[in-house]
């Protein structure tokens, strides 16, 4: 059996389907259980054929069908046990073979037996393909496969009585239930594996963070401190070390960002990613929750203000970012110790078409229903105060 050919349609994309390939994990155990069922069902069918061997119109056909069932069962067990039966070609062949053997009952039995108490030669063994289709493609396909086998026995009996129908319905249910359970089990297994991988990832991240924290960061901090005192070339090295330390620290902190429920985000965790050698970010310990979009805009506006400090406040200027939760509002202040602005400087910049602070920050914040106040004292730096409404449904902020 091969999985190449015209049937290589994307079955695995269908809802409830588990996809072709090699079965592993919980799916493999289910396939082995299906193989055991086939052996047990074969033993039952063999017993019936032997018991009624004198009653058949053509015992040779009955024995021939029995021998074919042994061969098919053997093939199923051999292929399914190592998990190689989980492919469309194999399951399709088994389905067709099984339906064909069921129909051959017509040649073996007397016409009176079609309508009587005698089951088809394949009887419960015919539930095998419905189970397999269920395993491979999910509940809906399992039901279809069950219906196909029911159709084969209806063909044999030229109609259906209560018993055929009852057996058929059971067959259909088996296909559906097995398919549903297989899909659910595989999904549960996947989720468990993903959860385990996530735990391992978090543990690894914590380990890395700890080791960076205890090692590299301490040394960089020390170089920064001692180098600055030594002066000259060493002071440059100290500045480099400080910048690396801040960048590494920001990286570690941003790694710790956790998703929060209901589309809200802790804007404090966003803002601390702006920390660097020249940018101090001070935030409360409790999370400051804002709707994701609002948090995006606040972060963007703050980043713009910080960048503006780096660009315009002069070399060596330091920026302080301060986030405060005011309950129904959230305030962010970006202050620098640079030269400050001449009065009207911002309006001039905007008039000259040089966006930046005025346009970008004011625009972003106004759209959130907030306000921006920019104040500056020449020689004492500039302060950008951003206040946005916190929104109505706030989570863990209080």
């Amino acid at each position: 059996m091969t999985d190449r050919g015209w049937w290589r349609v994307p079955w695995h994309r269908l809802p409830g389907a588990v996809g072709p390939g090699v079965a592993t994990g919980v799916l493999l155990s289910l396939w082995r259980a299906a193989a055991v069922f086939r052996i047990a069902a074969l033993a039952f069918c063999g017993y019936l054929i032997l018991r009624w061997r004198d009653l058949y119109a053509e015992p040779a056909v009955a024995f021939g069908v029995g021998a074919a069932m042994v061969l098919v069962t053997g093939a199923v067990v051999l292929v399914a046990w190592p998990g190689r039966a989980h492919r469309l070609g194999f399951v399709l062949a088994d389905t067709i073979a099984c339906a064909g053997l069921t129909i051959l009952t017509r040649l073996a039995q007397q016409p009176s037996q079609y309508h009587g108490s005698m089951p088809t030669l394949t009887s419960i063994w015919a539930a095998g393909p419905a189970i397999e289709v269920g395993l491979l493609l999910g509940g809906a396909a399992g039901v279809l496969a069950g219906l196909l086998q029911l159709g084969a026995s209806v063909l044999v009996r030229e109609g259906y009585d209560g018993r055929t129908l009852a057996n058929g319905v059971l067959l259909v249910l088996v296909g559906g239930v097995v398919g549903y359970l297989a899909t659910a089990a595989v999904r549960a297994e996947q989720e468990r594996a993903e959860a385990a991988a996530e735990r391992a990832r978090l543990a690894e991240r914590d380990r890395l963070t700890r080791s960076i924290h205890d090692g590299v960061l301490q040394v960089l901090g020390l170089v920064h401190r001692r180098g600055a005192a030594a002066g000259g070339e060493w002071a440059d090295l100290a500045r480099e070390a400080a910048a690396s330390e801040a960048a590494l620290r920001a990286l570690i902190t941003s790694q710790a960002l956790a998703p929060t429920p209901a589309g809200q985000r802790n804007v404090a965790a966003d803002l601390v990613t702006l920390r660097s050698a020249r940018v101090t970010v001070s935030v409360p310990d409790a999370p400051v929750m804002l709707a994701g979009q609002v948090a995006d805009e606040v972060l963007a506006a703050t980043r713009e203000a910080v960048r503006n400090v780096e660009r315009h406040a002069g070399a060596g200027a330091t920026a302080w970012v301060f986030l405060e939760d005011l309950g129904d509002q959230v305030a962010v202040t970006v202050r620098d110790d640079g030269g400050g602005l001449r009065p009207g400087r911002l309006d001039e910049a905007a008039a000259e078409g040089r966006v930046g602070v005025a346009e970008s920050i004011r625009g972003r914040v106004a759209e959130l229903g907030g306000r921006v106040r920019i104040s500056s004292v020449p020689g004492e730096g500039t302060e950008v105060d951003i206040v946005v409404p916190a929104g109505t449904s706030r989570g863990a902020a209080r």
């Binding site: 620290r249 601390v272 101090t280 409360p284 310990d285 301060f322 405060e324 302060e383």
Partner: protein, 217 residues
């Protein structure tokens, strides 16, 4: 630089040997008496009664008991001991916990040597050493408390809130004093009061909890 608290007895608690040595040398050069240099919180708690430091420079990230627990234990054993926290930025929860437990100030570990020396001087002189980060944490904590039960006595005055906000925005105590037209001393007192209120509140909470536990038995 303030020369208050010169010659004070200092204990250094840091698990990083290079750091410990560097800080010790800086402190000795600045005229402090370094009475102990230890690598963990247990040793700090064990040696404090014998060495009687005025100031403990406490790294918050320690092996064994945490810097927060060590701070609480040191202050419990000797309420006059002045713990100056040293930590990396980004350990906000620890800084807040240590401040509640009785630490007198906080300095980021990347601070320059002069800043460190100055901070130890001020701590030894009984002043609170506030960074913008600590101011934001304390403001946030009082906001959290304000949302709690109404009979809670932990409230900041408007002036205290104003002072903390300016500190959080990066202004020095001197600049805060200028802007609010207050004396430097008054600003210092306001800052110290906020920390004292927080610690008092914490103590009241702990006592209340202990009483409730006792009554439940």
């Amino acid at each position: 630089m303030s020369e208050e608290g010169a010659g004070a007895r200092v204990m250094v608690v840091d698990d990083h040997p290079i750091w410990r040595r560097a800080v010790e040398r800086d402190l000795v050069e600045a005229g402090f008496e370094v009475v102990a240099c230890v690598a963990d919180g247990e040793a700090a708690v064990r040696l404090a009664p014998a060495t009687r430091p005025d100031v403990v420079l406490m790294d918050l990230q320690l092996p064994g008991i945490t810097g927060v627990e060590a701070t609480a234990e040191l202050v419990r054993a000797d309420p006059s001991i002045r713990v100056l926290m040293l930590s990396s930025s980004g350990e906000d929860a620890d800084v807040l916990a240590a401040a509640k437990a009785g630490a007198r100030g906080y300095l980021v570990k990347s601070a320059a040597t002069e800043e460190l020396i100055e901070a130890v001087h001020r701590t030894a002189a009984g002043q609170a050493v506030f960074s913008p980060g600590l101011a934001a944490l304390v403001l946030g904590e009082f906001r959290r408390l304000a949302a709690g039960p109404a009979d809670d006595p932990a409230r900041l005055t408007e002036r205290e809130t104003e002072v903390l906000r300016l500190v959080a925005k990066g202004l020095t105590a001197r600049q805060v004093a200028d802007r609010l037209v207050l004396s430097h001393r008054t600003v210092q007192n306001h800052v110290q009061n906020t920390l004292r209120k927080l610690q008092l509140h914490n103590k009241v909470q702990l006592t209340r909890w202990a009483i409730e536990q006792g009554m439940a038995e």
